[in-house]
Symmetry: C2
Subunit: 153 residues, 2 copies
Amino acid sequence: MQRTPLESLNCSIARSLDIIGEWWTLLIIRDVFMGLHRFEQIREDLGISRKVLTDRLNTLVEHGVLKKVPIEKGFEEYRLTRKGVELHDVLVVVRQWGDKWESPQGPPIELVHDCGHVTTAFLACDCCGEEVSASNVTPQAGPGHSRVRKTSK
Amino acid sequence: MQRTPLESLNCSIARSLDIIGEWWTLLIIRDVFMGLHRFEQIREDLGISRKVLTDRLNTLVEHGVLKKVPIEKGFEEYRLTRKGVELHDVLVVVRQWGDKWESPQGPPIELVHDCGHVTTAFLACDCCGEEVSASNVTPQAGPGHSRVRKTSK
């Protein structure tokens, strides 16, 4: 993994990408969400080499995104931790962007919300409930900021 | 870019990651959102090699995420297309996940919503307005589906 340069950027996006910002990693997480919990199931689904899959799974376990759970006969399964489950939002928005811009045949997978309808989720503000988009938010330095940079929209 | 295996997966997440699922790519898009539009500005900000930055910018232009806009004296700037602007949701949720799980000093950047408050955005259903999360959606085959796979939550 390509750690050093990203760690040096004081940015939560960079820190997240250091863990999940690589093709196989997010697809592995998708597979676990879809119910594939065993090494061989994931390997077969993604057509990925054992070495690459072992590396990525170890990274995800080290970072607390997945945990190994012993099952019968000495086998183990991979399960999402709370930190891993909270990547669901990332999968949803990445999927929706691909559905809209890269899926001319229509979405391969749809999500049915508990309200009973196929949903296209949007980002809403936790204060007012209105949509959050590029045109209605302004970035500002937060408590963990160490570099001041002029920003524009 | 590692295209073949991802293209063969009929999955919008895989297709999106083929364009944006790599460290530098999403950070370049972040930089353009933050007002850095010129090659040298982005290169300096990320500490990235000219070759890698050129490759990534060309990929983003080819896929219609960025466009080159001529400015004075033969110089060019990179601007987000509509397709690029719609990656804002991806940046927001990736940032928020990193803020929560990988930023012990607190968020480096906060987003102030037009309602006047620092926002933590959540995914809401476009039908009912309620939260969308891993525990209240069920995936089903959509119109672009070509493989049927049993899923579980």
